[in-house]
Amino acid sequence: MANKMISEIPLPKSIANVFAARNISTAKDALSLTEFELMELLDVGLTEVRSALSQISEIVAPPYQTALSLMEQRFQNEHLGGHFPTGLKGLDAALCGGIPFGVLTELVGPAGIGKTQFCLKLSLLASLPTNYGGLDGRVIYIDVESKFSSRRLLEIGLRSFPEIFQMKEMAQEMAGRIFVLRPSSLSEFTQSLQQIKVSLLQNQVKMLVIDSMAALVSGEHEQGVRRQQTLSWHISFIKSLAEFSRIPVVVTNQVRSQSHDEASQYSFQAQSRDGIVETPTRYDSHLVAALGIHWAHAVTTRLVLEAKSGQRFIKVAKSPISPPLAFPFHITSSGISLLSDEGMELMGPEINSIHCQGHNEIINFRMESLV
């Protein structure tokens, strides 16, 4: 819509010609200039500029929908009103059905906590037919760190849905719906994304998993501001991909330790006279999600996976619908599962913090039990 050609908009002939003469060919060019600039550039009066702009704006502006018709449309056309159940009952209940369609859902946590395991389970679920709770479609799994294990995928399938996976043809059919891409650089990733966008709908892709987003960026050598900007394009692109195709998009993210000069307060907080709560003390193991604050704003749902006092938790850190709940979970041969469907409600910014205590013991223990 933004790249609509001026020639396609029914403007009075005189002004349309002037736009063309001054090389303003798309609506984007015209709308990026202020009224005054257009007057100077096109050498026409204010009223003509205003009327041309209002005509262009009317055509380029998106149509509206009432929230009611939006809801009805979603419930009519989409699986469970636009939610993909993860199979973890407590989590699905909190998220009002499951992972939402059309927006980004982030899984963030320290290494080895279970993010890839969760992604494998979700990919499997999405490929299953709808009577088994799946989306009955293809899954694109972008595996940046080469962690995708099809052996593990089939093991999860066999343990969770033995009636399907014991039959070799069915197992082949389901596994055959998951397509793994292994981009080795950011530019390859960019290319793959663009190809995916074009062929998404006709190939019946029902879910996109990117594991992991942070690894793509950390592989590049650009630092600081430039890195932020390269990521901005991808964030925008993935969001619009999710939006127009109305599929769930799951992205994993890494953690990094919080640096000393990390911004955590506003200027007015530092200035206040009476001593309010002081800056939260920094622990050595104080971890934060990688990729920065712009990314944190862009994801709609953030699920934090952490380990605390020997127990693993999955926390709903950011969600438009769910209260801040934490669910204990563990990983077995049939994938990730909750130890309790009753989440603990956490107060305050605690929900965002990522702990990594007592973690090493868990990895060793679990690795033994998986063999």
Binding site: E37, S57, E58, V60, T66, L70, Q265
Partner: protein
Amino acid sequence: MEIWRLPISASQRGKLISAGYTTLSSLSSISSSDLARESKVSESEALDILKFASHSHSGGSEMSSGNCSIFEGAQNAWDMLHEEESLVHITTSSADLDNILGGGIHCKEVTEIGGVPGIGKTQLGIQIAVNVQIPHGFGGLGGKAIYIDTEGSFMVERALQIAEACIGDMSEYNRFIRKDFQACEIRMQPKDILGNIFYFRICSYTEQIALINYLDKFISEHKDVKVVVVDSVTFHFRQDFDDMALRTRVLSGMALKLMKLAKKFSLAVVLLNQVTTKHTEGSFQLALALGDSWSHTCTNRIVLYWNGNERYAYIDKSPSLRSASAAYSVTPRGIRNSSSSCKRIRMM
């Protein structure tokens, strides 16, 4: 040279100046045909130029008309006071927050609300879009809402939850307060509330500019719209712009249009903003995004932040309200007062 003030094209202006007409008074006593001949413009153009000139000139000559129109388009402060007192507000459903806001979100003004991810900006936006619909009998505006979603964070299920809670609160109010009177029957259903929210989904900054231009016409056709929520105004402007100066110009143009809308239709405009880090005074601090020039353009600015375990709102900038902060909470019913009862409002 007063000719610069006329909204005419550069070439017309050039012709006038080269013909010797540099001030407005020089145009006051000439006929259109003479003007056309002297400055070599067409008759119709000359007529337009004279019309513009007389329009801006007439303001100065009416000193005698006692009341408001001494200066064309100006209003004296006494009349404005009367207007300001009868200003309506949109409640946020948290009494503490309404208190520091002077009653709620002001109509006829642009209010910017910013905060870190997960603090409750979208929640507040949805709450306001629902609360604007509270009928007059319950102290509300009985209006409709426009929700402009640039990030896809609007969740219909959540809006439904908040709408149900709002109607629940109104019924409770009915039962406790008005039990002696003819109960003002609540005929509103949560679905009706959803039906009164006009939802636009924006996918690029061009669409954002186009929509804000188009809102004038849209709201003229839907006069009962009383609030425009933009969630968030930042997203499409944080990338795609290599030319920062262009971004500043586009943003200020947008802000001006929104202010005009707010004044023209007496509605409230709520802009939700994101947060970025800024290096000031030797350390990194959080600040609202879009830069320093943007921070000048909005009338009111509220920052939502974490203070310990509580969510707080701080009035960062307002022409009439004191700097103060108040605690609020996000509950399954929407935005409400914070549950802890100690010292909730603090004046800075």
